[in-house]
Subunit: 478 residues, 2 copies
């Protein structure tokens, strides 16, 4: 240890200053624990600059136009194209032009200390930060180190892939202009959202989907309805195909994708929305007996199994790769670190204050496409696989008065999965225009384990789309 290495001791060291790291720090600071936050890129993380915020900024105008086109008296006015420059400028605003001053100020405001640089574990309770100029700082954590480094896009190692400079979710959300033609590889959430956004903004999108359909983790009707609308909007969806190789003509020429069926697709850019990997490969995990590059397995308090000081919160623990779920874990992890620091017994029973129970039972997700697709909890297939005795109750969302008032020619579908033994809901899925905000009713019903007989007393306001709740309950009663 030379004089050149600064040493600092904190109660808690957080690696990664995305929304998850910020929320861990928020809770540990609220409990009076000194807290360092280490970040090698922008404070605010993937969500603020290359995921939720920019993607939704690009999507909202596309979805709002799709909805407005179904409104009488208004539809004629919105037949034309969107002003893509205005949308991109809005996206730039919503990402604070990829500057993190506001987020740094927020961390300053709660009294967390930001260390700019790459944080690596160097032994138990010790994180070494390599700053931008190569200077090293050694941080010791009295109580806990929380790894909140998130995940990164996986680009498959296809022949030619490096040469085409492929887009990942980062480039897809931060692109400065609308590509003429865009190939989207992958039919999951990132794939359908970015296909919707760029097709809506004027690109000609072709989706390459390995499986049978889109949104394979949701109820089957979600991918079907979103796929229909994407096709209607002019996108081309090829299912059951994979890219075999890719190449780009010259430096700025078009990309050619050779498919495994021998055909080719040409485009100006190619986006790989083909999954995520944990950001744990260069984190010094080996110094504490863990496998670099692996997902970190944690208990419900987000503590790494076998450790009494190491926490992994957010995407990196692979429980639920969603910003809001990571923030939920962060609130719990921050509180539980504080409780253990005080010597208080944490409340880690199911649904206790220090147990991320919703990760198992009530993970919500809204896909901001046209139509919106939203779900919480288990799908029918998941519930059956988990051994629950269940019944799926389906209802055509277009048959609800509020839907027809919301949009002419409304298309949508709702499903609730009822646990027949406990008479509570295990999962709910809504797909249709204007249902994004409706999801939280289902999240409260599922997480709150509100009995079906009590849900009968939760009267939906007429004529909203939420009346589908009444129809689902009536259908269940039969």
């Amino acid at each position: 240890m030379t004089d050149a290495v600064k040493k600092t001791e904190y109660d808690v060291v957080v690696i990664g200053a995305g929304p998850v790291g910020e929320n861990v720090a928020d809770r540990t600071r609220a409990a009076g624990l000194t807290t360092a936050v280490v970040e090698s890129e922008l404070v605010g993380g993937e969500c603020s600059y290359w995921a939720c915020m920019p993607s939704k900024a690009l999507l909202r105008p596309v979805v709002a136009r799709a909805d407005a086109r179904k409104v009488p008296g208004l539809s004629g006015a919105v037949r034309g194209p969107l002003d893509a420059d205005a949308v991109l400028a809005f996206r730039d605003e919503e990402t604070s032009h990829w500057k993190d001053d506001g987020q740094v100020s927020w961390l300053d405001g709660i009294g967390a200390v930001v260390h700019r640089g790459k944080g690596r574990l160097t032994r138990a309770r010790e994180v070494t930060v390599t700053g931008p100029d190569g200077e090293e700082t050694l941080l010791t954590a009295r109580h806990a180190v929380a790894v909140c480094t998130g995940s990164k896009a996986v680009v498959p190692s296809l022949p030619g892939v490096a040469d085409v400079r492929p887009w990942t979710s980062r480039e897809a959300t931060s692109a400065k202009e609308v590509p003429g033609r865009l190939v989207v590889v992958g039919g999951g959430v990132v794939g359908v959202e970015m296909a919707t956004a760029w097709q809506g903004l004027g690109a000609q999108v072709t989706m390459l989907v390995r499986g049978k359909g889109l949104l394979p983790k949701m109820e089957p009707f979600a991918g079907e309805l979103v796929g229909e609308a994407l096709t209607e909007a002019g996108a081309r969806i090829l299912t059951g195909v994979s890219a075999a190789s890719v190449s780009r003509a010259g430096h700025d020429g078009p990309v050619t994708v050779e498919l495994d069926d021998g055909t080719t697709v040409e485009a100006d850019e190619i986006l790989f929305a083909t999954g995520r990997a944990p950001r744990t490969d260069d984190l010094g995990l080996d110094t504490v007996g863990l496998e670099p590059g692996s997902w970190l397995t944690v208990d419900d308090s987000c503590r790494v199994e076998g450790s009494d000081w190491l926490y992994a919160v957010g995407d990196v623990n692979h429980r639920a790769l969603l910003t809001h779920q990571g923030k939920y874990q962060a609130r719990i992890a921050g509180d539980v670190i504080a409780a253990r620091a005080r010597g208080t017994l944490p409340e880690t029973d199911r649904w206790g204050a220090h147990a991320a129970t919703a990760d198992h039972a009530a993970v919500p997700q809204v896909v901001f496409t046209d139509p919106e697709a939203a779900s919480v909890g288990l799908t029918l297939a998941e519930a059956e696989e988990a051994g629950h005795r269940v019944r799926a109750v389906d209802y055509d969302l277009a048959s609800v008065a509020g839907s027809g008032l919301y949009a002419q020619g409304y298309k949508g579908q709702a499903r609730m999965v009822v646990d027949l033994d406990r008479e509570v809901l295990l999962g709910v899925t809504f797909v249709g225009p204007g249902i994004g905000e409706l999801l939280h009713s289902a999240t409260i019903a599922v997480a709150g384990e509100v009995p079906v007989e009590r849900l009968w007393h939760a009267v939906p306001s007429y004529p909203t789309i939420s009346e589908v709740w009444l129809r689902l309950l009536e259908t269940y009663r039969g």
Copy 2:
């Protein structure tokens, strides 16, 4: 009794074939009880032809345009006026052009017998129907008579009022053209909705409000935000004033309203949105010892106090003058009539299957204005007046990421009223664009009595407006 009078016996006789009467019949028929439904106007009732359906058909384009104007890349396209003819045509479609064939078929389909004509009680368990041609039919009810006649608009008896042919909610929802200038008297739900609709469709609206502000039954910020937006849209709102007299120049000339402050307002039409009265004045209530023209007081099973056969369901019992709440009561009343007919003990405990408990604890309402205003349960003032130990938790809806993505320049407000003794929510109010579907989350939380500590596990999906739930809970925790 002459041969000219037809006599028919049913298990149940329902007077009034609005949504409430239809739902009572639906439940009694499902239980196998023979059921007659008496209707003197259109089957489907006020809601289908002169309230919910036409008003929302007129409002949706206005609100959708207001929202679209706040969306980047789209706002320019929707600067112009709405196509009012298209909106009126849509309204005509949504009311089935004021024809009730579909609703009659539905009643036929469930096996209820429709009697066209005016139904009046003539003694206990007996309803005499006077048909369109004056022919009388005497219906006897073995088990129950359900009065579902609803309510009607009250027009104050001002000097000159008959001569101006004033609009009530019926004319306001069924008008065939947009008036040049419209005076709206009253600042409640009907007043603000119709002011929003007609101002948005091109009328110059002036509101005359007796009290200090709009929407006096909701949290104060609801009326304030709706009033601001109405003013921005070009409407004129005069508060603390009343109409003293009205007159119309000639037969089709303008209406002049003289106010109690001596000033006058001129318009082409005048709408009185000044309250409702029960439709019980010509119902033969005196033949069964009740007061004609009075609201009918019922217990939680919707049975009229002191009677073992007479039920009053929907507006007419004055518990909650809302279609959805009337339908809720109807499901319960229909079931309880069936239970009592079977000799089964009804479940009339709090939140039981046969108790309309939500009428007291969890009445939801969405006001379809720009911004939308939605509430469930008690306001702070109501909770305090009822003697609860409560805390109101407020949050600026504009500070939620999802709000800024939904609309630029978003303005809104949220409040939850927490019962400090039981740590459950007694009421929730949201005001802002795009929150109509969010209300049901609050309705489930309030009706479900989901504890605050469990609501922490109901994670709002990011970045939706529903994230306000997290902010409210954080604010409550402090």
